[in-house]
Symmetry: C2
Subunit: 190 residues, 2 copies
């Protein structure tokens, strides 16, 4: 998507260690006008899939998910990161490895809000190693809901998450796919 690619080139900064800093418009300060355009692109891709729920993960997916949900006319559910063991059986739980922070955390959703009748679109800001997205897929599977696909803002296509999840059959619509990046240059997949 040209608009997002241009914005990344203009305002993104590549930091040491393969970090793409886009916190001026995507995941700290958030440009909701841009988000509305991303939402339209995801809606164009999934408009015929009867999406009735958007699932994301806290915190930086929530804004994108809410604006996207307006396009689809459905609610958002966000998976919560937790260190609390929930023993009452009211939640689905999955474990996610964070490569960025070098730790493992549990994410949960309340069972009552993810049902077998749901047709779920996943939304997140980044796809790199795919751990968070894989965790969301697992929650949908546990619920017996239908996984329609995933809408991603920025995919680091040089990292393995996208290829692995597509090989598993997940439909992924990434609006900017980075082929390679360094502190001097950044190129997109064409």
């Amino acid at each position: 998507m040209q608009l997002l690619e241009e914005r990344i080139l203009r305002d993104g900064k590549v930091r040491a260690g393969g970090i793409l800093k886009v916190d001026g418009f995507l995941n700290h300060q958030m440009d909701v006008g841009l988000f509305a355009e991303l939402a339209k692109a995801w809606h164009a891709a999934f408009r015929d899939d009867d999406v009735n729920k958007i699932l994301t993960i806290e915190a930086s997916g929530i804004g994108l998910a809410c604006i996207a949900a307006q396009e689809f006319g459905c609610p958002v559910l966000f998976a919560k990161k937790t260190k609390t063991k929930n023993i009452d059986g009211s939640v689905y739980t999955t474990r996610v490895m964070s490569y960025t922070h070098g730790n493992v955390y549990d994410v949960i959703v309340a069972k009552e809000y993810l049902r077998p009748t749901d047709r779920v679109l996943l939304i997140d800001d980044f796809l790199a190693n795919g751990a968070a997205l894989e965790g969301l897929c697992d929650l949908v599977r546990q619920a017996g809901a239908t996984l329609v696909g995933a809408g991603i803002a920025v995919e680091k296509a040089f990292q393995p998450g996208g290829a692995r999840l597509r090989a598993q059959g997940l439909r992924i619509e990434s609006l900017a796919r980075i082929a390679a990046m360094s502190e001097d240059s950044l190129t997109f997949v064409r």
Copy 2:
């Protein structure tokens, strides 16, 4: 606001320990159609205040803040909870006591996104003891920005946060103000 009060009465549940569970529409599953109505109400209240930035705190404020930002035509900035000491001076930091979780955490915003020229509206889902909102006020103060006020979805008016912050001069527009609640009944401030 009648729409929100009715929704709380219909779908909210009061739990032991003064917990109001509204996670079916406000802070786990999120009804973005309802959010749009809340956003209109906040915009009606603050439309003449030249708001050019909305500040919230992760995670459950983000969805409300993004939908509200569409009304105001401005970006959102969300304060991040962190355990990492940031020593490079690029962030404003404040300390927040969580009464819900019984701990203290630091919240940060990048200095580059909160400027003295900003006119900031705070948005959050809940106001009870006021610790989170007070932390956001402190961040605005550190930045030398103008604090326009706060838009809150649900205020527990029987807890001290709202009264204390109003006494300090903060303009707070809470769309549902709970006067008292128990597992059997819930009443709003009239």
